[in-house]
Symmetry: C2
Subunit: 491 residues, 2 copies
C-alpha cells in the first residue's frame, strides 16, 4: 500500500467513528432517557478521547509527508489538503481540553434545556461561563498567536475571517433595515389562523421532504426541541418540531433540514467516511437549506402547489386563495425567535449573535452581562423588548454546545443562496412552472450537480463561484429580497 492508501484507510475508520459519535448527538436530542445524561457525558468524552487520539496520531504526519511525493489526482490532493488542516488543528488542542469540552458541553446542554424550560438565564450562566472560558482556551491554542475568534470560525468556515464577514454584513445591513422599515409601514396581510393537527403536520412534512428529494430509505424524520440534521452518506437523519397553531414552523423547519440532508445524501458515494464525504462548510451547507426553504419553498409558484396540498389535508384554510396564502407564508412579523424569523429580518438576528459572541470570546463582554446585552441590542434592532429569556438569550442551542463561530455562517449561507438562486433561475427558465406543479426535480438536480455532489472537493467560496460563474457577493440576495417583498407589499 502507498502512504496515501494507508492514510486513507486510517481516515475512513476515523470517519466511521465520527459518524457514531455524531449519532450519539442525534440520540441525545430525540431518544435518550432523561436520566441518562450523566452517563452519556462519559460516553461522549470516551468517544472524543478516541477521536482526538486518532486525529493527533503522529502516523498521520508521517503519512502526509510520504504522500506529498506521490502522484495524486484532484480528489487525492483535496483529501490531503483537508487531512493536513485537520491534523495541524487537532495537534494544537491538548487532549485534556478536548475531552473536558466534550464533557462540559454535554452537561451545559442539559442545563440549558432546563433553564430554557424554566425561563431562568441565571441557572444557565455559570455553566455557560465555563464553556466560554474553555472555548477561549481552545481558540487561543488554535490561533497560535492569531485572532482567537477567527480560529474558532475556521472550524465552521475554513478561510473566512470575522473582519471579512463584518464587512459583508455591513453591506447587507442598510438595505435590509430600509426594506424592513418599508414593509412594516405597510398594512400586513392576514396570517393563517386555526389549529392544525400535529400528526397531520408531520405527515405533510414527510410528503414535502420526499418532494424535495430527501430519501427516507437513507434517513428518518423525528421531533426535537431544535430542528437539526445529523449524519452523512446513507444515514442522514433530520428533525423538526410541531406547534398546533403554526403549521409553517414544522413545515419550513423540515424543508430547511431537508436542504442540509440532501446535500449530505448527494455527495459522491466513493467519498464515504473521508474528509470529502461531508458538506464543505457550514456556510455552503446553509446555502442549501436556505435555498430549499426560501427561494424554492417560499416562492409564489411552490406555495400555490402547497396551498392545494394543505387544503386537501386540513380542509378549507380560511385564507381566501393561493395569493393570500403566499402572502401569509411570507408575512413580515415582529418576533423574538431566529428560527421563525422571516427572510427580511433573519439576518438581523444573526448579526446580533455574531457581535455578542465575538465580544464574549474577546473578553469584552462577561456572561453575567450577556442577558442584559442581548435585551438591549434586541430592543435597538427590532424596536421592542424581549419578554422572557426563552424568547431571547436562551432560545438557541448553539452556545450550550460550544459552537462559537457558527452563527455568522447562517448569514453567509443566505448570501450564497442568493447567488445560487440567480444562477439556477438563469439555468432553468421554466423553474416556476415546475415549482407550481410540485416538481422539484430539476431545481434540486441542478444543486446536486453543481454543488452537493462535490462534498469537500472544492473550497467553500470556490464551489459557489464555480456553480454561479461569478464571485459570491451579497447583491443577488438583496436584489431578490427587494424584488420579492417590494411586489408583495406594493412598495
Amino acid at each position: 500500500m502507498s502512504a496515501y492508501d494507508e492514510l486513507m484507510s486510517f481516515e475512513r475508520e476515523t470517519g466511521a467513528l465520527a459518524q457514531v459519535a455524531g449519532r450519539l448527538g442525534w440520540d441525545q436530542e430525540t431518544m435518550m432517557p432523561r436520566g441518562a445524561a450523566d452517563q452519556r457525558s462519559e460516553e461522549l468524552a470516551a468517544m472524543e478521547s478516541v477521536l482526538h487520539a486518532r486525529r493527533t496520531d503522529p502516523r498521520i504526519g508521517d503519512w502526509l509527508e510520504a504522500a506529498a511525493g506521490e502522484a495524486l489526482d484532484e480528489e487525492g490532493a483535496a483529501q490531503l489538503r483537508h487531512i493536513r488542516r485537520s491534523y495541524e488543528r487537532a495537534n494544537r488542542v491538548p487532549a485534556k481540553l478536548a475531552s473536558d469540552l466534550a464533557r462540559l458541553t454535554s452537561r451545559a446542554h442539559r442545563v440549558w434545556a432546563e433553564a430554557r424550560a424554566d425561563d431562568d438565564f441565571a441557572a444557565f450562566a455559570p455553566v455557560l461561563a465555563e464553556v466560554v472560558q474553555l472555548k477561549r482556551e481552545e481558540g487561543a491554542a488554535l490561533a497560535a498567536g492569531g485572532d482567537v475568534y477567527d480560529a474558532l470560525l475556521d472550524d465552521y468556515e475554513p478561510g473566512a475571517s470575522a473582519v471579512q464577514l463584518a464587512e459583508m454584513f455591513g453591506a447587507l445591513r442598510p438595505r435590509l433595515v430600509a426594506l424592513r422599515q418599508a414593509v412594516l409601514d405597510k398594512p400586513q396581510p392576514a396570517p393563517l389562523e386555526g389549529t392544525f393537527d400535529e400528526q397531520a403536520q408531520m405527515k405533510l412534512s414527510r410528503m414535502v421532504a420526499k418532494t424535495f428529494g430527501y430519501e427516507m430509505a437513507r434517513g428518518r424524520l423525528d421531533k426535537s426541541v431544535h430542528p437539526f440534521t445529523a449524519g452523512s452518506g446513507d444515514d442522514v437523519r433530520i428533525t423538526t418540531r410541531t406547534n398546533a397553531l403554526d403549521p409553517f414552523n414544522c413545515l419550513y423547519s423540515t424543508i430547511h433540514e431537508v436542504g442540509h440532508a440532501c446535500y449530505e445524501q448527494a455527495i459522491r458515494g466513493g467519498y464515504r467516511f473521508t474528509p470529502l464525504g461531508q458538506g464543505v462548510s457550514m456556510g455552503v451547507h446553509e446555502s442549501q437549506s436556505r435555498i430549499y426553504e426560501n427561494q424554492l419553498g417560499r416562492s409564489r409558484a411552490f406555495t400555490g402547489w402547497l396551498y392545494e396540498r394543505m387544503t386537501e389535508l386540513f380542509g378549507d384554510l380560511g385564507i381566501g386563495g393561493a395569493e393570500a396564502f403566499y402572502a401569509a407564508v411570507n408575512r413580515i412579523h415582529n418576533g423574538y425567535i431566529r428560527t421563525e424569523a422571516d427572510e427580511v429580518q433573519y439576518n438581523l438576528h444573526v448579526l446580533l449573535r455574531f457581535d455578542l459572541e465575538r465580544a464574549l470570546i474577546a473578553g469584552d463582554l462577561e456572561v453575567a452581562d450577556l442577558e442584559a446585552a442581548w435585551n438591549e441590542r434586541f430592543a435597538k434592532d427590532f424596536g421592542f423588548a424581549v419578554d422572557k429569556p426563552s424568547d431571547g438569550v436562551l432560545q438557541d442551542v448553539h452556545w450550550s454546545a460550544g459552537l462559537f463561530g457558527y452563527f455568522p455562517t447562517y448569514s453567509l449561507g443566505n448570501v450564497y443562496a442568493g447567488c445560487l438562486n440567480k444562477a439556477l433561475r438563469a439555468a432553468e427558465p421554466d423553474l416556476d412552472a415546475q415549482l407550481a406543479a410540485g416538481d422539484l426535480e430539476k431545481a434540486t438536480g441542478w444543486l446536486r450537480d453543481n454543488v452537493q455532489q462535490y462534498g469537500g472537493l472544492y473550497e467553500p467560496r470556490a464551489v459557489i463561484e464555480k456553480a454561479c460563474g461569478e464571485a459570491p457577493s451579497e447583491a443577488p440576495l438583496l436584489d431578490y429580497l427587494e424584488a420579492k417583498f417590494g411586489a408583495l407589499y406594493g412598495l
Copy 2:
C-alpha cells in the same frame, strides 16, 4: 495512581465505548434507515476494531501484573478476575478475525431479516455458513486446544461446560416430556379471543413495566422484530412487539425484557462502565427475565390483578372471569415459536437449538442440512411438522449475530429462576397477597437485594447459591411446574 487505579480508569473508558457500540445495535433494530445497512457495517467494524485494540492493549497485562501485588478489597479482586479473563480471551482472537466477524454478522443479520420475511432459508444459508466458519475459527483460537463449543459458551456463561449442561438438561427432559404429554391429553381451556388495539397494548406494556419497577427515566420501550434489552446503568432500553390477535405476546415479552432491564438498572452505581457493572452471565440474566415473566407475571395472584387492568383497558374480555383468564394465560398449546412457548415446552425448544448448534460448531452438521435437521428434530419432539422457515430455522436472530453458545443459557436461566422462586416464596410468605394487589415491590426488591445489585461481583453459580442458601439444581423448577400445571389441568 496505583496500577489498579490506572487499569480501572482505562477499563471505564473501554466500558463507555462498549456502551456506545451496544447502542448502535439498539439503533439498528429500532431506528436505523433500511438503506444504511452497509454503512452501519463499517461503523460497527470501526468500533469493534477500537474495542479489540483496547481489550488486547499490552498495558493491561502490565497493570494486571503490578496490581496483583496491591492490597484490594473484594470488589477490586473481582474486577481483576474479570479483566484478567477478558484480557486472556481477547488476546487469543486475532484483530482481523474480530473485525471480520463484526462486519459479517452485521450483514448476516440483514440477510436473515430479509430471508425470514421471504421464508427462504436458502437465501440465508450461504452467509450463515460463513458465520459458522468464522465462529469455529474464533472458538478454536479461544479454546487453545480445549473444546471449541465450550470456549464459545464461556462468553455467555463463564465456568459452564456443554457436558455439564447436557447432564442437567438430561435430568429436566423426562419429567418435562411426561408433564407435557399429561397436560396435552387433557381438555384445553379457552384461549383469549378477539382483536386488541396495538397502541393500547403498548400502553399496557408501559404501565406493567413500571409496576415491575422498570425506571422509564433511565430507559425506554420501543418495538422491534425480536424483543431485546440493550445497555447498562442509566440507559437501559427494552423492546417488544405487538400482534393485534395476541396481547399476551406483547405484554409478556415486555415483562421478560423488564426482568433483564431491572437487573441492569439495579447494579450498584459505582460499578458503572466497569466489568462489575453488568449482569454476571446470560444464565443469571435469564433467571431474572424468567422469574419476572413466569413465576411472578404468570402467577394466579398477579393474573387476577392483570385481568382487572385489561378489562378496564379493552372492555369485557369474553373469558368469563379471573380464573379462566389465568388458565388462558397459562394455556399449553402446540406452537412453533420459542419466544411464544409456554413454560412446560419452552426448554424443549432450547434443547433442540443447543444440540443443533453444537453439531454445527463440531462440524457434524452442515448449514446446507440445517433446515432439514431442524424440521426432523422438531417433528420428533413436538409431534407435528414445521410449516415454514420463519416458524422454524429462521425464527431466531441469534445465529445471524454469531451468538453460538447463547441458547443453552436460556434453560439454565429457567433452572436458576426455579431456585430463586423457591427462596423468594420462603422469604416472603405474603407474596401472593401482594401480587394480587399489583404490588411487586417486595418481590422485585428481594431480587434486587439478593441478586441484581451485585452485578459481576460474584460468579454466576455463586450468586444464585448465595441468594438461595443452597446449590442450584433443576428440582425446584420441576416441582414448581408440576404443581402449577397439575393444579391447572387437574392431573
